[in-house]
C-alpha cells in the first residue's frame, strides 16, 4: 500500500538539523491533519525504507539514517572527501586512544564517578574528562550519594551521533572475561598492536637480561 505520509515525513526530516523522533513526526502530522490521522511508528519506519529505496535506485547522494533515537538526512560515504574539503568540522582530529577508552568505560558503566573510572583505567583522567565534556560527548548527570558526593558522568546524544548509534543498546558488547581468556587472539594480538621494530628492540633487551630462575 502506498504510504500517504511518505513525502511529509521526508520534508520533516529534511528540515531538521537534529535527529527527528517518531513522536515529533506523529505530533506534526496529527497537529495538522487531525487526531484521527492514522500514523504509527511502523508507518514511519516503512515510509523511510521506501524513501531510502528510492534514493538508492535513483542514485541520490543522500539517505535517511536512524541515529540517536531519531531520523536524520545524511550524505553517502563516498562524498566524504569533497565535503571534508569545505568543512573543517569533519577534518578535526580523531579521538585519542585514551579518550576512546574513557568513553567505552563511561558508556557501559554510566553513571560513573571519576574515582571508579580511574580505578579501571589505572591512570588520572582529569584532562580526558575535561576534553570529553568540552566535546559534549559526556555530561555531568548528578552526584553520587557516597562520601564526598562525587560527580557522575554519562554519555550524551552527541556521543550516539558521533559513533552513528541509534541507542546505547547498539553499543558493541564487551566480551565476558572468560571469553577473553579462551580467545587465542588474546595472545596473537600483539603483532597487530606493536610495531615490529619496537618489539625487536624489547625482545633483544630482555633476552640479554633474562634470568630463567627468576620466573616463579
Amino acid at each position: 500500500m502506498e504510504n500517504i505520509y511518505k513525502n511529509i515525513i521526508e520534508a520533516l526530516i529534511f528540515s531538521s538539523d537534529e535527529p527527528l523522533t517518531n513522536a515529533e513526526i506523529i505530533k506534526a502530522i496529527k497537529g495538522i491533519d487531525g487526531e484521527d490521522a492514522e500514523i504509527t511508528a511502523e508507518d514511519i519506519s516503512s515510509a523511510i525504507d521506501l524513501l531510502n529505496q528510492e534514493f538508492e535506485s535513483s542514485g541520490r547522494a543522500v539517505k535517511i539514517i536512524k541515529i540517536a533515537g531519531g531520523y536524520l538526512f545524511a550524505t553517502r560515504e563516498e562524498f566524504a572527501k569533497y565535503i571534508g574539503y569545505l568543512s573543517s568540522e569533519k577534518t578535526k582530529r580523531r579521538l585519542s586512544q585514551a579518550a576512546l577508552e574513557t568513553l567505552a568505560i563511561i558508556a557501559y558503566k554510566q553513571p560513573i564517578t571519576k574515582p571508579e573510572l580511574e580505578s579501571i583505567r589505572g591512570v588520572n583522567s582529569d584532562y580526558i574528562l575535561a576534553t570529553l565534556l568540552d566535546k559534549k560527548l559526556i555530561t555531568i548527570s548528578g552526584r553520587a550519594e557516597t562520601i564526598g558526593r562525587p560527580l557522575l558522568y554519562t554519555t550524551t546524544e552527541e556521543f550516539l551521533k558521533y559513533f552513528g548509534l541509534n541507542s546505547l543498546s547498539d553499543l558493541p558488547k564487551p566480551r565476558e572475561i572468560e571469553e577473553i581468556m579462551q580467545d587465542e587472539d588474546f595472545i596473537e594480538q600483539k603483532n597487530k598492536i606493536m610495531m615490529n621494530a619496537v618489539e625487536e628492540t624489547l625482545e633483544n633487551e630482555t633476552e640479554n637480561e633474562e634470568n630463567p630462575d627468576e620466573t616463579e
Binding site: 529534511f14 531538521s16 538539523d17 539514517i65 536524520l72 538526512f73 545524511a74 550524505t75 560515504e77 566524504a80 565535503i83 569545505l86 568543512s87 573543517s88 568540522e89 569533519k90 580523531r94 579521538l95 586512544q97 585514551a98 576512546l100 577508552e101 568513553l103 567505552a104 568505560i105 558508556a107 557501559y108 580505578s119 579501571i120 583505567r121 589505572g122 591512570v123 588520572n124 551521533k161 558521533y162 559513533f163 552513528g164 548509534l165 558493541p172 564487551p174 566480551r175 572475561i177 577473553i180 581468556m181 588474546f186 594480538q189 600483539k190 598492536i193 606493536m194 619496537v198 618489539e199 628492540t201 624489547l202 625482545e203 633487551e205 630482555t206 637480561e209 627468576e214 620466573t215 616463579e216
Partner: protein, 242 residues
Amino acid sequence: MYKIRLEHFEGPLDLLLFFIKRDEINIYDIPISKITKEFLEYVNYIRMLDLETAGEFILMASTLMHIKVRMLLPREIDEKGEEIDPRADLVRALLEYKRYKEVSEELSFLESNQRKISFRGNFSADPIEHPNEYGILLKNITVYDIAKAFRKVIEGIKPEPVHQIRKINITIEEQINFIIGKIEEYTNLHFLTLVHGMKEKIRVVITFIAILELVKMQRIGLRESSNFNDFVIYKLDNGKHL
C-alpha cells in the same frame, strides 16, 4: 634503553597487558618477578621524561613488588579454606581494563565510519574565522571615536588617595603641666591663645581634655570671654579665686 613511544601505553595496566601479550603469558599465572623487573626498567626510563605520568607507573611498580613479596610468604586462606592468590586482584583489574580496551577499538572503527557521513547543518558547526561584516561590529564609529573615549577614561583615572598616619606622642598629663606652666605665667589665659600654633588636631583635643581635667581638679576656672567662640582660663588655688 627501550625505544618505546610513550603514547603506546595509556597507563600501567596497558603496559602490563603489553608484556603479557608479548611474552604469551597466561594471565592467571603471571611471573611476577620477571614482570616487575621489566616494569621497573620502563618506569626508570619514563621517570626521566614525565614525572607526573611516572607517578602512576611507580604506584603499579610498588603494587607489583608487594605482590612479589606476598608470593614468597605462605598463602593466606579465605573463608572457604582456599588459598588466596596474591595476584588475583591484579588479574581482575587487568581483565576489566582489557574488556574496555577492546570496546574502544570497536568505537574507533565506528568513529572512522561515521566520519565519512555528514548531516544537515554540518557547515553551521564550523567556526566562523573571519567575520567580514564590519557594519555589524562597528556601527557608525571611527577609530578616532574609540581613541577619544579611551583617552577620556585614561585621563579620568584619579590617583588613589594615600593617607599617612603619623603618631603624635602627647598625653593629657603633659598638657596639664603645659597649661599650669602657662597659667602661672599669665594668670588669665584665652583658650585660643593657648592652642594657637598647635598644628595637629589631636594636640588641641588633648589640651581641651587637660583643661576639663584641671577644672575637675579645681586647679583652674573658666569664664566667658569677650570674644565669641573663646573662653578665659584663670588660676584657682584649691578652688578659691585668687
